[in-house]
């Protein structure tokens, strides 16, 4: 019986692919592709704006901003304020050399209002303002009033359907304390992750599945390392 042409036992023929020249050509082609693909990355610093990626329907280049001139006010309704929250977070974009004074108010469901102000802040960093204990609310109204002397741009919550007025709503976050780290927010985050899902999706289940992945990885790794190298069947 004649072995098939690709069988190692088959006689070598200089014309077939797989000769040194064939491999060299393949290596050359791959090297050329790699070099060509690398060109964009080497020259990536073109000053063009990097942004979020596309879906089938949109390319979002960057977050939009709304400009608050001195005297302007922007409000967002329907903001959930959990128990123990103290801090309002907004995202200033461009800030003039002398930053304006921003007055923040949070009006709770029961009408209680908490206010505070921020006077010095920098461009491009989240602005966190500690207003003290905020009124726990399912649907609070958060307002920012620019007291001057200069304008400020604030990131918008794009596509938010709960706009309180004609002006697009600004992006507002409510945090539970001073400069909280992400770890401090995990509890809340997991609670929220269980909302608007099947009743069996609870924070415990989410954590359990996350741990199951980690345990599974460790278990698989142990099995992999215990398995001797050799023929697979």
């Amino acid at each position: 019986m004649t072995p098939p042409p690709d069988d190692p036992r088959a006689p070598r023929r200089p014309s077939r692919p797989g000769t040194a020249a064939g491999w060299a050509a393949l290596a050359l082609a791959v090297a050329a592709i790699v070099v060509l693909l690398a060109i964009p990355f080497v020259g990536a610093a073109t000053g063009r704006v990097e942004g979020l990626l596309s879906s089938n329907t949109q390319v979002r280049v960057s977050s939009s901003a709304t400009v608050l001139e001195p005297g302007d006010r922007a409000c967002v309704r329907g903001v959930y304020v959990p128990d123990g929250a103290r801090v309002v977070r907004v995202y200033p974009g461009y800030v003039a050399e002398r930053s304006p004074t921003l007055r923040f108010t949070v009006r709770g469901d029961g009408g209680r209002v908490v206010a505070g102000r921020a006077t010095r802040f920098a461009t491009g960093e989240p602005l966190l303002v500690d207003l003290g204990p905020l009124p726990t609310s399912a649907s609070a109204t958060v307002c920012v009033h620019n007291r001057g002397p200069s304008g400020v741009s604030l990131a918008e919550a794009r596509g938010h359907f709960g706009a309180a007025e004609a002006r697009p709503p600004i992006r507002v976050g409510i945090l539970s304390g001073d400069h909280p780290r992400a770890v401090a927010l995990v509890d809340d985050a997991l609670e929220r992750a269980g909302l608007f899902k099947s009743g069996i999706v609870t924070p415990a289940l989410i954590v359990l599945l996350g741990l199951a992945v980690l345990v599974g990885v460790v278990g698989a790794l142990v099995l992999v390392l215990r398995d001797e190298e050799g023929p697979s069947s």
């Binding site: 964009p40 390319v59 329907g78 596509g159 609670e191 929220r192």
Partner: protein
């Protein structure tokens, strides 16, 4: 096949389990309808699950059934907006969903599938099973969605099983190489996110992975009627789930050329077997097309739901339709992958930077939730380093084994060429889509995932570039890095939606 599976070591099954758990974790973490195009995919599954029929293709907009719409409207944020969670709104929505669930009419909308309705129905019919079973136990729309997401995760794990079988064919005496390749795929965060959602890309992943495995198996063991039918069936599953899976036919055809060449001494039997494979692949779709006019006039999708506030698209209605000439396609293809040459019209002027970088590399590093968030471009550059290291490592390993691999040169060319052909077919679909929609972009990294087995092969081959004594350490480091990548992806997801 069953004997084949019985011979799989326990470690391989553990990797398959990890893949399922990974998808399951994403399925509970991702908010409802935040998978890619999940509103329309859900509409398709729900319509088939409720009526047993395929939906109409009359609408480009998704008009979800009342129970799904109650969830969408109950959530105090939009697809594109900033979440503002409320337990009270959640309770209100739960109560409304319970009430709506009592009347079957609230679960049916013929336009729920919208632009996805032009796709073949295999995935929707498969997912109708968990949909209905959950309903028998009193589950509402949210319970059913979780059940379908979990079933999709199981399909994704099946894809990983085929990837492992492929790697076993490629590295028969190097188990560490196929294990590490399988783990790299199982722990790829975008893969995990995708299989944890409702999406008809998932059966195409299974299809692609099975096809690559069978191609590799055939190169080692020869073409037989069973294998030929298997090759065709693998492609048929993809084609019956998604129109744009036709790139798999190109992979199959390309592979068959090499398989027939390999067996040219008995070409009289090899050629009919190749014909059999192609027939099994495409005839079911052609038959279905006669019945249902598959894929005709796919309407351009919108962001999902008919109501105000839909995000703007990049399409310019006033723009002239791009040309359909082959020259323009070649220009499009070039510009997608490579820097534009001076004499070419700019076909990607709406991209902030380079298409391949934004669409494939950044997205492979991590883009989730309608591809609207992920890692920063700076962090994504790490993926370039990783991919470059993997390609270099695999190149070194191949070069060192060039004599031993002489007999498998045809297989390597078939697989690499298959990937190139598949990627070109995705671009071809993207080009057509761009013409049809006057400028919207199509390509996304998930469309390359049917070839993800080759990513596993790349990782496995790169491992073989290392000396024996370093390989186990390298496996641990690779798995550690992949796990940290998953954790970071969950972190950005928690931050995006819930913090």
């Amino acid at each position: 096949m069953s004997a084949l599976l019985r011979r799989l070591p326990l470690a391989a099954w553990a990797i398959v389990l990890v893949a399922f758990l990974h998808g399951a974790a994403w399925s509970v973490l991702t908010p409802s309808f935040q998978g890619a195009d999940e509103i329309a995919h859900w509409g398709y599954v729900q319509y088939v699950g409720e009526t047993g029929k395929t939906p109409d293709r009359s609408s480009r907009f998704a008009e979800p059934a009342r129970d799904a719409l109650a969830v969408l409207d109950g959530m105090p944020w939009s697809i594109d907006g900033q979440p503002s969670w409320s337990e009270e709104a959640d309770r209100r929505t739960d109560a409304l969903v319970d009430r709506l669930d009592d009347d079957r009419a609230n679960r049916i909308d013929k336009d729920g599938a919208a632009y996805q309705a032009s796709n073949p129905p295999l995935y929707a019919y498969a997912m109708a099973v968990p949909y209905r079973v959950t309903g028998w136990f009193g589950g509402d729309v949210l319970d059913r969605m979780l059940a379908v997401r979990l079933a999709s995760s199981a399909l994704g794990a099946l894809a990983v099983l085929f990837v492992l079988l492929l790697l076993r064919e490629l590295f028969p005496r190097r188990r560490l190489a196929w294990y590490v390749g399988g783990l790299a795929v199982a722990l790829q965060p975008v893969f995990g996110w995708l299989i944890g959602s409702v999406n008809n890309d998932i059966p195409v992943l299974v299809s692609g992975a099975a096809l690559l495995w069978l191609v590799a198996r055939t190169h080692r063991r020869g073409l037989s009627p069973g294998i030929a039918a298997g090759l065709g069936a693998a492609v048929a599953v993809g084609l019956l789930s998604k129109v744009s899976a036709y790139g798999l036919v190109a992979v199959l055809a390309w592979s068959l050329v090499f398989l027939v060449w390999r067996e040219r001494a008995r070409w009289r039997s090899a050629v009919p077997l190749a014909g059999l494979a192609l027939a099994v692949a495409v005839v079911p779709l052609l038959v279905l097309d006669l019945v249902r006019d598959i894929g005709a006039a796919t309407p351009a999708p919108d962001t999902g739901v008919v109501r105000e506030g839909a995000a703007a698209t990049v399409a310019d209605p006033a723009a002239a339709a791009p040309s359909r000439s082959p020259r323009d396609f070649l220009s499009y293809l070039w510009q997608f992958w490579l820097p534009r040459l001076p004499f070419m019209d700019d076909q990607f002027s709406t991209y902030p930077t380079y298409p391949v970088w934004e669409t494939y590399v950044q997205a492979f590093a991590g883009r989730f939730g309608w591809f609207a968030y992920g890692f920063s471009p700076e962090a994504s550059r790490g993926m370039v380093v990783v991919l470059a290291a993997l390609i270099a490592g695999a190149g070194v390993a191949l070069w060192r084994r060039r004599v031993a691999l002489r007999a498998r040169f045809g297989l390597i060319v078939a697989l690499v060429g298959g990937f190139v052909g598949y990627a070109v077919m995705v671009n071809l679909r993207g080009w057509q889509y761009r013409i049809d929609t006057r400028g919207e972009n199509f390509e996304q990294v998930r469309y390359l995932f049917p070839m993800i087995g080759l990513y596993g092969a790349l990782v496995g081959a790169a491992l073989l570039a290392l000396p024996d004594r370093w390989r186990r350490t390298a496996v641990v480091l690779v798995v550690l890095a992949a796990t940290l990548h998953v954790l970071a992806s969950w972190g950005v997801t928690l931050q995006r939606y819930y913090m």
